[in-house]
Symmetry: C2
Subunit: 362 residues, 2 copies
């Protein structure tokens, strides 16, 4: 399954030229961040599928997780497309790259008005700022409200933030494998990844764009990600104690196990498509996020989670559902039993598909 | 509880001068490793408590985990001492530092016969080699068999290896929070730590002893260790989303959360007492280890595990117990319910104490 996931996640990288052609760009103007920092000009990269109806009422916003991008039919093509749960023959689907990202939207690697990469000067952003930029894009598209805002993990945080920050602009939120706020352990995993980057001598305080940058640290950070996104069972199923291209141990200090090779391969591949400063910026935004109530929200909620997801455990989705119930809103939480850990939210089209289809038809 | 653990684990470091005075050293001669490498001379550092009786039948060998050392009354003083489950008024307790370690026994930082640190020339060692060195120490001490061999995590692997490799020298084995072989996920966590070190530009292929060495990579590797040794509950209990010495977020790129400060503090502290090459050598030995049966063993077994230990899950101890049962041996497996993750085996004196006391009196 991890191989399927990789295909889904990384095909975008392998056909980057094509994807760039599909990307659209919207200048959403100057922004002052929630934490106070400023950007004189913000561009949001996005892609759309399907057609906006005459009532402009069939818009669906897809919010991506840490390493995702605007190409939602790609990393989430089990959920989105013609005949899928989020059916592009019925809905006008919009995927964006988040503010602070590195796949077309303004982020730390972007050039300022002087033509210099922001690097260390890029402001601290929060989930609320990502949503603000998306809201301006929504206005640009002539949409007043979304039929659905959906996302998993960091994308789920954006979705629930939309419900609270722009209650009149959201009819339904589907939030999968996410949390109202990161726990200490989740912050810890993010921080270990950040420290791998910050402690790389090539990081240079974040102003590394004239050089190769902290690719070793970023690679280690990505290995950590893979360790936390999978489960004991999925690691066992995919790798077990299989050796790497050898019938026996070499005992020469080289990589021995297939799982070791996999981690380094994924880590190194990640450095070719992702910027270390974006990793730091986005993981900090995730850690800062803390939704305390749905006192402003008006939408219907669907929360899904997976019993094998130990890094975003189900009780966090149950707590979100309870917040929605406490606010008097229609809400449901469904825990799905599948063995692949946090990656389930990307890999599972079948269960999530049925549940989301029902949610959209209610 | 983590604070108590730190006290237990690191007091040794803080009173290093005293501890070195308590250490004894045994030259166990030249060794050829199971994988073929050689060392012309091996020293094993050890400490003892209690008195060997006239029958030489009350010896207890304590085997340490990855970051431990010979100072078992220190990191395991909840279990060992006068009146404790492993009662030093009855037993002659021996703690050793493993072959390949960095607390007195021959390891990669040791000097060869030319006076140069082994570094990259240190051979690949396995758990079986650690046991072989301990067996020579046993002979040096005039002991023919151990009343008990005990250890947790990597120490548990040594204990079960003793049972199989020297069946006549072991009467009882207590193996806690351990496994017959590392799973792919466990290998993955070790490998991410190794890669953090190997990818540090200061690693220099392992021959870094004339310089500061890969302290940044080793620090990140230790952060990973702490993430896997604790549990969601223990992180939540100790840190939650508490901020670090501030009433509010600073939004200045510095550390914000207490858990972040904790991880960097523990990581950096570790680099002052541990050698990066030992980290690589010992984690590889752990990953190589695979006990397939107890066909040679003759001893009684006690396996304990903890329901919150997600990195060494209970089913691995249950499988070890089954191997002992399959070999027709007396064996029991007891799962203990405590919330502190893998660290439980160090923190829990109460439950493990009662169980081990009973095991020793049987």
């Amino acid at each position: 399954m991890a191989e399927q996931l990789d295909d889904a996640l990384f095909q975008e990288n392998e056909r980057l030229g094509v994807v760039i052609d599909e990307r659209l760009y919207c200048n959403v103007g100057a922004m002052t961040m929630k934490a106070g920092g400023q950007l004189d000009e913000v561009t949001i990269a996005y892609e759309t599928w399907g057609t906006l109806n005459a009532e402009r009422s069939n818009g669906v916003l897809i919010c991506h997780a840490l390493s995702g991008d605007s190409h939602a039919i790609g990393w989430w093509d089990r959920m989105i497309g013609p005949g899928k749960a989020i059916d592009t023959t019925n809905y006008f689907v919009v995927g964006t790259n988040v503010l602070g990202g590195c796949q077309g939207s303004t982020g730390p690697a972007s050039l300022d008005s002087e033509g210099q990469p922001y690097g260390s000067r890029f402001p601290v952003i929060q989930i609320e700022d990502m949503v603000e930029a998306q809201q301006r894009l929504m206005q640009h598209l002539g949409i007043n409200h979304w039929h659905l805002v959906a996302g998993g993990s960091m994308g789920g945080m954006q979705a629930i933030c939309w419900a609270e920050q722009h209650p009149d602009a959201v009819q339904r939120v589907w939030c999968t494998a996410s949390a109202a706020a990161h726990s200490a352990m989740q912050i810890g995993f993010n921080e270990a990844g950040r420290q791998a980057i910050l402690r790389d001598s090539e990081y240079r305080g974040g102003d590394y764009y004239a050089t190769q940058g902290p690719v070793q640290g970023l690679s280690v950070a990505r290995m950590l990600g893979h360790l936390s996104f999978l489960s004991e069972a999925s690691f066992a199923q995919k790798f077990g104690r299989n050796l790497q291209s050898k019938g026996q141990f070499s005992f020469d200090g080289s990589i021995e196990f297939a799982v070791e090779s996999y981690l380094s391969y994924q880590g190194d591949k990640f450095t070719k498509r992702f910027d270390a400063n974006s990793f730091i910026t986005l993981t900090r935004a995730i850690d800062y996020f803390e939704l305390k109530s749905f006192e402003n929200a008006k939408c219907d909620f669907l929360f899904t989670s997976f019993d094998s997801d130990w890094i975003y455990p189900s009780h966090q989705s149950a707590a979100l559902h309870q917040l929605a119930v406490d606010a008097g809103l229609n809400s449901q939480h469904i825990e799905i039993s599948l063995p692949w850990g946090h990656d389930c939210f990307l890999l599972d089209g079948e269960n999530q598909g049925k549940i989301v289809k029902q949610f959209l038809s209610d």
